[in-house]
């Protein structure tokens, strides 16, 4: 009885519709197209490679997360493709999946270097600048920024 129940549940689970999630490439392609990023952005990314080498002026900007829904698929020109691949190569950490804007891409490496285990929910709803500020502040608490 248990075996048949388990098989039935497994089958039901297989049949369930899984929500479609755009790939990382598609997400980054959407940002590149939306903000018209050029190869100069890769140089900025190189400059912000270290945990403390990012441009601190990014932290003083708006801490609200930019609204962004990635396209379902992306086909890009070759120059844009190179930029996307460049970003994916330079920012090889899972936080890239939660970026919504170029600013967040620039802060991604620094944030990951400071704390590689931030919960996906916080990454999804809080701007990386706000998270980074919270991590870098001397009287740091575990509460997420409001």
């Amino acid at each position: 009885m248990e075996l048949t129940e388990r098989i039935r549940r497994e089958r039901l689970g297989k049949r369930a519709i899984k929500p479609f999630t755009p790939s990382l490439f598609t997400r980054i392609a959407g940002i590149v197209k939306r903000y018209g990023l050029d190869p100069g952005f890769l140089n900025m990314l190189d400059a912000a490679a270290g945990p403390n080498s990012f441009n601190h002026s990014l932290l003083s900007g708006s801490s609200s997360k930019a609204a962004y829904s990635p396209p379902l698929f992306a086909l890009v020109m070759e120059t844009e493709y190179r930029i996307i691949i460049g970003i994916m190569d330079r920012v090889a950490n899972p936080y890239l999946h939660f970026t919504n804007s170029p600013d967040e891409i620039l802060l991604c490496n620094a944030l990951f270097a400071l704390n590689p285990s931030i919960e996906p929910e916080r990454l999804r709803y809080h701007h990386f600048a706000a998270l980074l500020e919270r991590l870098m502040s001397p009287n740091r608490t575990e509460n997420p920024p409001q």
Partner: protein
């Protein structure tokens, strides 16, 4: 790997031609930049060697993709298809290019419209059937030549129309235009054998469409010159009348007329009914006003009324209604003088003699019996049976014997 085709579908073709996107021309094919994603990039990397593919050889590892200076381009569409596709997808653009043809003062076609074959058939075969000599009944039927001479007597042909055949056909002017466009095309070609902005292709496409229009015009003139062999009697006098009619596009003579529909050689041919009368079941008389029964030369060859008109054989009161005929759907599908004559005669006969006062046939009856027949009423057309026009023979009751 068919992304290139998708890019060039529909209005995207126009967007491409107005953009700065770099394209490549190879063996008369337009190659557009290959759009990339991870899987396409993997496929490209798996198949291509790193060497650049030489221009002009037309073959490569992937067949439809070339790599130039590190960028990939995919074969999209043939140049001829760009030209024909743009004309089909954007007829308004095609019309604008026609309007912009150099040396042209607007209107259609390009140089001068030689009277088309349909106009010739109307004048030489249809008109003689409907226009009769008034002086003597025993004289033979009018011919096409007689009709043109009759028109010449009735209307004033402007001196500008009195030219010789070559001038009328406008071949000299057309030749000059063709040479001019050819020169401009040569300036665009050869297109650079390297990536270039797509907007440069638009200029060449524009000239190509202009050249096609001029080629069509040349073919039309040659066709028409050939058709003149059928009219050995035609002199410059007749040609002047033809040119005048072709330019003006309309004529009405003795109750028969035609006017051009659209820009080409299509016309609407009509015959006036004049005033006539019909009687109902009780012998009451209804006076019907004049109307034009018309047929188009582009089909279907069904008679209809041009004006707003009511009649038992018309469904409502509006203009352009088809006349109800006994043999609906048996109309000829090919243009000919016989088809037009038959349709006009059938239409007029139906209006004059089709209504049977005892059977009350048609969509409506003159004396409606049921409420359903009362959407179109004819009481306002009723006149006394001893009306002076009937007494004097100016108004004929057409269905006296039905």
């Amino acid at each position: 790997m068919r992304i290139g085709w998708g890019l060039l579908r529909g209005s995207r073709l126009f967007q491409l031609l107005e953009s700065e996107i770099e394209i490549v021309l190879l063996s008369d094919f337009v190659y557009v930049p290959l759009l990339m994603d991870l899987s396409i990039a993997e496929e490209i990397d798996a198949h291509s060697n790193d060497s650049e593919i030489r221009m002009g050889d037309g073959s490569d590892a992937l067949g439809e993709i070339i790599r130039l200076k590190g960028a990939c381009y995919i074969k999209a569409v043939h140049l001829k298809s760009v030209v024909s596709g743009l004309r089909a997808i954007h007829p308004e653009y095609d019309a604008r290019i026609r309007q912009d043809l150099p040396g042209r003062g607007g209107g259609d076609p390009v140089v001068f419209s030689p009277p088309g074959t349909r106009l010739m058939i109307i004048l030489t075969e249809i008109m003689p059937h409907f226009i009769h000599r008034k002086d003597r009944m025993d004289r033979p039927k009018l011919t096409g030549k007689d009709i043109l001479e009759l028109i010449e007597r009735r209307i004033e042909v402007p001196p500008a129309c009195r030219k010789d055949a070559d001038e009328i056909l406008g071949e000299g002017e057309l030749h000059k235009l063709r040479e001019g466009v050819k020169g401009r095309m040569a300036e665009c070609l050869p297109l650079p054998e390297k990536p270039f902005p797509a907007r440069l292709l638009k200029e060449w496409v524009t000239h190509s469409i202009q050249m096609q229009v001029l080629d069509e015009e040349q073919a039309r003139i040659e066709d028409f010159r050939g058709s003149w062999a059928n009219y050995p009697w035609m002199s410059d006098r007749h040609r002047a009348v033809l040119k005048y009619l072709s330019d003006k596009g309309s004529l009405e003579l003795d109750g028969f007329g035609f006017f051009r529909s659209g820009a080409g050689d299509d016309f609407i041919v009509y015959r006036r009914t004049g005033e006539y009368a019909l009687q109902d079941f009780f012998g009451r008389v209804y006076r019907f006003p004049d109307c034009r029964v018309a047929v188009t030369t582009f089909g279907p060859f069904k008679p209809y009324v041009l004006e707003s008109y009511k009649h038992p054989f018309l469904e409502s009161k509006g203009p352009g209604q088809s006349i109800c005929l006994q043999q609906q759907g048996l109309h000829s599908r090919k243009f000919s003088a016989e088809a037009i004559i038959k349709a006009l005669e059938e239409g007029i006969n139906a209006l004059f003699h089709g209504y049977d006062r005892r059977r009350r046939n048609g969509y409506h009856s003159l004396d409606p019996m049921t409420v359903h027949e009362r959407s179109v009423r004819f009481e306002d057309l009723r006149i006394p049976r001893d009306h002076p026009d009937i007494q004097a023979g100016r108004l004929e009751i057409k269905n006296l014997f039905r």
